[in-house]
Amino acid sequence: MKTHLLLFLFALFFSYELSAQFGPENGVKASEPKFVLIQHATIMVKPGQTLTDADLLLQNGKIIQVGKNLKQDGAVALDYTGKVLVPSFIDMYSSVGLDPVTFKNNGWRPQLESNKEGAYYWNEAVHPELNAAAAYKAIENNSDQLQQSGFGFALTHHMDGIVRGSAAFVALGQTEVDKQLLAPKAAQVFSFSKGGSNQTYPSSQMGSIALLRQALYDLDYYSKNKALLPFSVSLSEWESQRNLPVIFKTEDKWEILRAQKIANEFKTNFLYIGSGNEYAIANELKSKGIKLVLPLVFPEAYEVNDPYLAREIPLSDLKHWETAPSNAMLLKKEGLDIAFTSFGLKNADQFWTAVRKVISRGLSPTDAMAALTTVPANWLGLSAQVGTLETGKWASFSVFSADPFAYEAQLLETWSLGEVRIWKSATSVQLLGTYALRIADENYELVVTGSSEKPQGKILLKTASDTLSTKATIQLKQQDVSIQFLSLATSNPQLIQLHAKALKNGLVLEGDGTDAKGAWFHWSAIQQQTTPITSPTAIKPDSTLYGQVWFPNMAFGSTQKAAEQTIIFKNATVWTNEKEGVIKGADVLVVGGKIKQVSRQDMAAPAGARVIDATGLHLTSGIIDEHSHIAISKGVNEGGQAISAEVSIADVVNPDDIDIYRQLAGGVTAAQLLHGSANPIGGQSALIKLKWGVNPDQMLIANAPKFIKCALGENVKQANWGDFNTVRFPQTRMGVEQVFYDGFYRAKAYQKEWDAFKAGKIKVAPRVDLELEVLAEILRSERFITCHSYIQSEINMLMHVADSMGFRINTFTHILEGYKVADKMHKHGVAGSTFSDWWAYKFEVNDAIPYNAALMTEQGVLVCINSDDAEMGRRLNQEAAKTVKYGGLSEEQAWKLVTLNPAKALHLDDQMGSVKAGKAADLVLWTANPLSIEARVSLTMVDGVVYYEEKEQAQKQLQIEQERTRILSLMLAANERGEASKAPQKKVKKHFHCDTLGEEATETENSH
């Protein structure tokens, strides 16, 4: 044991010798480092262990010993009675000491390729070669905020882009830069944010996901085959980081789950920088063993004194405001490990306010301290060096006036690698109080208020009849006090300047002054009354100060997760969509999320079943929207390239979209969430069930057939996107055809190469190309195309392309001129998913007619009516009814356009699309014939779970209003306490449309 310790100590000295300076000394050599012995301090050695009246022995920037009554010959002894030592905090998300990453700008035209010269990765958002250690500059004061907060270490990196490069673990403070770089490559950092790159790709979150995955595959391919490949600065540098921990910056709770899928795919793990709303899915995160670094930035309260304006704040914002400071407590309670970052805070005051808020919300002080010290040290594999004040670790700690986790303590000093920086003298003069001031035989009163750091003065002169007063400016520097004021003369007041030494800790001030004429005089002041210094306020924790988390945590969310029930509908008019047609007086039994039985006879309700009297009501299978863009996070189009088959909407499903609830209210139970139409080959679809208050994976239909969106016409040739959008190929329908041929030819070659490899004909595994993987799936008929299309020329063109490649186009969506080529469509076997009556919104829909659905149906084409619109999506029953008017379809035919036919088009008709025993219980109860203008949805269930009920709406509204009022009153109290606040702004719900570019939804008109 002892030998070990000796060896360890030897290693420490040895390492110090190794780190000696290489350069010459200008002047004589500085003296050898001495021992420093801090005595009689309260030492918070590590979370959960505090020593009182303890000593700390330091040498060469390291801790030699911690304990009681330490002795060391030749040590400089310092008395730290009453002071508290806390290990320096570690900030895992920082860019301290680094300049912002710069990008070359192309001007106003879209930049499709990288502008970076050299052997770098093709996309500017992927820059693993950026090396934080190499670029690190210890600029004076640039880490002051961190140090004032108590941080002594930071993991710093170039905070920009998707693959950001290596992060350096640095010690903050005023030591030399070469000493600060404790671990030059301590981690690598990823995110889904493109950052400052001007390159068009990626323009969406799904694009970022695809790019990161492709880059990771490329890295793998490069490291296996680098002898054969041209040198890449980016990949070669990245290779050297492969064993480093990965920090992943997220902007929303769902991004953690998205990133975790990538971690699983590449059999690795990420450390997540959270966004603050993780509490809503704490359980989910726990089950995945997520490690989270939490921000300490909490939403500001809104100014809620104006009720008109307060109406504009959505309940989701109110609820988040209330619960965000409890995030750490709730996650810890769930059993997750957490750390904190000060990222986003503006000053040390904000940091400590936030930490104390977190503690006041019930996170234990020990856990809070661990989240700033031992947890990050452990995650970064640096526990042997930092995180506690134990022997052998870096002598980096902060000195407080009291335990900062228990009291509103003041930071006095920071020690970094054994070097001290004094922020505040603990023995500073205490000036606050009232003084008898005597100047030139005149008696005044000097009142000093404010704080010791910023004293404010007032000079009073009491006369027989009155009290005159004037403001005085007071400055205190150590013992030196200067006071300035305008004399109390009634006319023409003059400037009086006083200077004094503060004696007896401020009890006596004595010195000289000058009057307006510059004449010197002597003066003195004696304190009469002291303003007592308030002792630090203890933090009072209360772990119940957060709102109930709803599913989802917003308006119309449920307090309980909705559960599947056994339900029997009695005496309904059932639109079976089967050969039985519409049957009256039928009973339908739902068990285990499936339709158990459809019976014309009266059925007995199973025990415990909910019985719904459906007399006079119509029961149908749920509406299936073949074309929807709701419930998508950060971008519906990856329009950065003409082909973006590698991206998938399934990666970015957003369960917190109110439109999910609204569609349920319109009887929609399933939808294809499609990529937009910004490019010829867009992205993969998400086939979802409309479920409210669940996670994204629960919405995705298990084992659903694979789909991809393609597009033709004006959108893909960027016809209506402004005159600057003339760079990307294609700009004509001629070019569109060639994009398809090019993609599929390349995919064929790709397939051939992999086939050869799998057959053992070539030894080296080919590069994984996510785009071609997907195109090859299409060629193998393992993935179906839904293609946005309008006019007959392009429709026929794409069918020719498919025919020549030996596959079939599955669905043409929009297909407004489908009626002109319905015979060809029938022959090809493609479905048509159209609007009921839209036209006139752009040139290519000039020949669109509302009889389209009927004419295609007559020609034997499988026809669907879809929404492509969050508003229309909730009244697709009405849209279907229009085909009765335009073209005279029967009501049953019309109804199938939004139920059974889309189920068939999506290859899901084995499990949905009709009311039949064995199919999923995706059912809608209507107040009338669903095609009637008077029909309302009474109830919607998906997989046997009731997600919408009309009769609950009044109750829901009441619940929403009560919750709003409850939180608004809390917010008003916060306003009155003077907490930081912001003005409410009306938030217009934005939507994604086919042609929406970028990550943000828009308010612009839908141009499809």
Partner: protein, 413 residues
């Protein structure tokens, strides 16, 4: 003088087509809330001569140029679409066809009437669903311009005009950060315009202020586009401050929250599109469907209009927007009134349009079934000011053409 010539021209044109039309045995939805079963409607020249129960009357066929037996069908007054760019644009995405938004913040002098394209292909597809009048309305700026009530049938815009320059359209500010300043700007402009209007002496002509004059004399309506409570209560104050005779709120999403105030101020509301999503995440899912009934319950004069995405082409769904409110608190006849008589009353043309009543213009249609339900909205006859208008349109022609193509191909096989 101009007006006299105009009326004269109209009379001449109708005199030359002097006719008597009798429609028999339909259910007449009057438009004011009433129904006449088994109705007979007599049209003489351009006006309705009578609406009677046909079973209790005898008619001499020789008295009529045209007799139409509408057995079991339904009569409706021509539906009216307020606040619409129909006729002012043809293809939304093609700039060359957009004629509704001109440069400038203060454009009361810009007139929709003369840009109205009565031959628009969109117009004919709207007409065939029963919408026979439109308030062609400019967009943009603080004051977008002057709207005009137009027929969906005619040879040219003069011919199609029902009421020229019926009102100006003021877009009430909604930007919270500059709200007070912007509101002040509007007051300032109106103060200027009011002073100009009240001045006795002949002034040098100012196109803008001239166009405003009639607003202060009760001859021109002031349509104020406003949605939120704050906007609406400020509009009420504004209308009172300038003693506007005919202020109208257009949009009025929050109107249901300040019902008593609106009722007392007697300001009618042209409600936003029924088929729209709630404006706030927390609002009830079907609030826009419920709004007409909410205003009716509070005694506020209102109608339904169709401003929004792709509005010209979507105007053909106006009957179904009204129909949708039938499931949310309005009766069928109340729903009809909200897109016929009520619109005409608000715009001030109810003397001639809006119902199937004696003396009104014969602008109505016959549908095989209830016209507010898409399945039965099947028009067999359309009359605009007593003249027959085609019940077909180019879209139906394309339908017939391609249907024929397939039939011929099938025969050939």
């Amino acid at each position: 003088m101009k007006a006299t010539i105009f009326i004269l021209l109209l009379l001449l044109s109708f005199n030359s087509l002097s006719q008597r039309i009798l429609l028999l045995h339909g259910t007449a939805h009057i438009g004011n809330g009433n129904i006449v079963e088994s109705a007979a409607i007599g049209v003489v020249n351009d006006r309705i001569a009578f609406v009677k129960n046909s079973l209790t009357q005898t008619f001499n066929s020789k008295d009529w140029d045209t007799i139409i037996n509408c057995n079991g069908q339904h009569f409706y007054p021509g539906l009216v679409s307020a606040n619409n760019t129909l006729g002012l644009t043809e293809i939304d995405a093609v700039r060359a066809t957009r004629d509704y938004n001109d440069v400038g913040d203060w454009n009361p002098h810009v007139r929709a009437q003369i840009a109205y394209n009565v031959e628009s292909k969109v117009v004919e597809t709207v007409r065939t669903n029963g919408v026979l009048l439109v308030q062609a309305t400019p967009r943009g700026g603080w004051i977008s311009g002057s709207s005009a009530v137009m027929k969906l049938s005619g040879w040219n815009w003069e011919d199609a005009t029902v009421l020229a320059d019926d009102g100006i359209h003021l877009n009430w500010p909604s930007d919270r950060t500059n709200y007070q300043a912007q509101k002040r700007e509007i007051y300032t402009f109106f103060e200027l315009a009011q002073t100009y209007a009240q001045a006795k002496s002949e002034q040098a002509s100012d196109l803008r202020l001239e166009a405003m004059k009639a607003c202060f004399k009760g001859q021109k309506r002031v349509y104020i586009h406003a949605e939120s409570i704050q906007q609406i209560v400020d509009v009420i104050d504004f209308a009172a401050a300038f003693q506007l005779t005919f202020p109208v709120i257009v949009g009025g999403h929050d109107a249901y929250l300040v019902g008593a105030k609106l009722r007392d101020s007697k300001i009618p509301v042209m409600l936003s599109r029924v088929h729209s999503l709630p404006q706030r995440e927390d609002e009830l899912t079907y609030l826009p469907y419920q709004m007409p009934a909410l205003l009716k319950q509070q005694g506020i004069a209102f109608c339904i209009q169709n401003d929004g995405d792709m509005q010209p082409m979507n105007t053909r769904n106006l009957p179904f927007q009204a129909g949708t409110t039938m499931a949310y608190g309005l009766s069928e006849e109340e729903a009809l009134k909200a897109i016929s008589l009520s619109v005409c009353q608000i715009m001030g043309i109810d003397k001639d349009y809006g119902t199937l009543e004696v003396g009104k213009k014969a602008t109505f249609f016959v549908s095989k079934g209830p016209a507010l339900d898409m399945r039965s909205n099947q028009l067999t006859t359309i009359l605009v000011d007593g003249q027959f208008v085609s019940t077909s349109n180019f879209q139906e022609q394309l339908y017939f053409k391609y249907r024929q193509k397939y039939k011929t191909a099938a025969k050939a096989e």
